[in-house]
């Protein structure tokens, strides 16, 4: 079985990160698995981790009292799920549900925050990586709300 540092190094998200940091972050990683329909997290719960999806698909959902559960985004293999662990109040804003059998690496948020606080270079690097993910999602969301298909 591959060690976490090997796996993290191969992900798109951590691509190019210095080996000593990969080694350090591997200490915050664990394997998780979600069956189809199982919730990874629910809106309002404490946000203590983010997930690097290795296989499967996760739907981000929002509950609308009139229309029920609405899927607002889906995330697939090699994508990053969750950034609420980065900012107070550390609560999930949406719910995340596995659409099919999903395997992921869970990165412990508290562990990561501690490492980033004690090493601002790592913190800045990680923040830049999340900024790219956030900008991509923001741009896609802008198109989504524009109702571009007419």
């Amino acid at each position: 079985m591959k060690a976490f540092d090997e796996i993290l190094k191969e992900t798109k998200f951590f691509h190019g990160l210095a080996p000593e940091y990969i080694q350090l972050l591997a200490g915050c990683a664990s394997n998780v698995r979600f069956d189809p329909g199982e919730y990874v997290f629910r809106e309002g719960e404490s946000a203590n981790a983010f997930y690097l999806i290795r296989h499967g698909q996760v739907a981000l959902e929002l509950h609308d009292p009139r229309r029920g559960q609405l899927i607002i985004d889906t995330l697939n293999e090699d994508e990053v799920l969750g950034w609420s662990w980065l900012f107070p109040p550390y609560k999930w804003v949406y719910s995340a549900r596995a659409v099919i059998l999903t395997r992921a690496i869970a990165m412990d948020g508290k562990c990561l925050r501690d490492k980033c606080d004690s090493d601002p270079v790592l913190g800045y690097d990680l923040m830049k990586r999340f900024a790219v993910v956030m900008i991509d999602r923001l741009q896609a969301t802008r198109l989504q709300v524009l109702n571009v298909y007419g």
Partner: protein
């Protein structure tokens, strides 16, 4: 291309004169989108066209509008158009019944680069009703499947209920030589596919960017962002083709209604290499 189609088949003597066709079948694709299958009348038995071309359809007594051909170029005995009922003419068109007459002028305009794409991976990116003008190109590429590399269809639409040509997409999906990815803007939890804009599908779609021809059709904003994403992936801008839409009237480049920068969409388009229009697309009021 227009002249070729017109004079080879002698379908229409005068491109300004409508020829009456009969409606052979009406298919409801979604709550606001429908397909009309038109049958040529009299001495006209076939209607040859190139994928990407359009016709001017005339609802008698109501008005005339440009609509892309959505049928199979290999079966020219049936003329197929798919459109959304949004304005006066398209709403009147939706009310037409089997056996009713409709006027047809065409085919007009440039075509998708189906021949030029031989030897390349071909990526079709469709947004909403934009799948309809791309379908003839897909038919043609699939009819000569061994001449192309990978074939990928990326299709984005508003909701699962808005998906066009559903049964055909399902049939295509069962093929092993065509990759289809569908995404919607929003869905409820019964939907098991992707949610998000179509541009999100591009980074992971299976094609070789440097050896790809992309054909993109949908609203202009969607095409602009799709082209950006394709370029980000490494597809050269002259390998990206888009289909433009403007208010067309004469369809022969005389009236000027559809002028877009230095070109007339009806005559020089609607299909263009992206690099030809790229600088104009960002300009206001063009």
């Amino acid at each position: 291309m227009v002249e070729q189609a017109l004079f080879q088949d002698q379908l229409v003597a005068d491109p300004m004169t409508s020829t009456p066709f009969r409606i052979g079948r009406v298919v409801k694709e979604s709550y606001d989108t429908f397909t009309l299958e038109l049958v040529p009348q009299g001495r006209y038995q076939t209607f040859p066209f190139a994928p990407g071309q359009f016709n001017m359809l005339y609802v008698f007594g109501v008005g005339e509008i440009p609509i892309s051909i959505s049928g199979d170029p290999q079966h020219p005995s049936l003329l197929v158009h798919t459109t959304r009922a949004v304005g006066t003419v398209t709403k009147a068109m939706r009310a037409l019944k089997v056996g009713d007459a409709i006027g047809v002028r065409g085919p007009f305009g440039s075509a998708w680069p189906v021949k030029e794409a031989r030897g390349y991976d071909v990526v079709f990116v469709a947004g909403g009703i934009g799948l309809a003008p791309l379908r003839p190109a897909l038919y043609q590429v699939l009819a000569q499947r061994d001449r192309y590399g990978k074939i990928v269809l990326l299709y984005g639409t508003r909701s699962p209920e808005d998906i066009l040509f559903r049964s055909e997409l399902e049939k295509w999906r069962s093929r092993f030589d065509l990759e289809i990815y569908v995404t919607v803007d929003y869905a409820n939890s019964k939907w098991h596919g992707n949610v998000g804009v179509v541009t999100r599908l591009i980074p992971k779609a299976p094609f070789d960017p440097l050896n790809t021809i992309a054909m993109v059709c949908g609203p202009e904003v969607m095409m602009r962002f799709t082209a950006l994403e394709l370029q980000k992936r490494g597809v050269p801008s002259d390998h990206i083709y888009i289909s433009m839409e403007r208010n067309m009237k004469c369809a022969t480049g005389f009236c000027g209604h559809c002028q877009f920068g230095p070109t007339f969409i009806c005559k020089n388009g609607p299909v263009y290499p992206y690099n030809q229009l790229q600088s104009w697309l960002a300009l206001w009021e063009v």
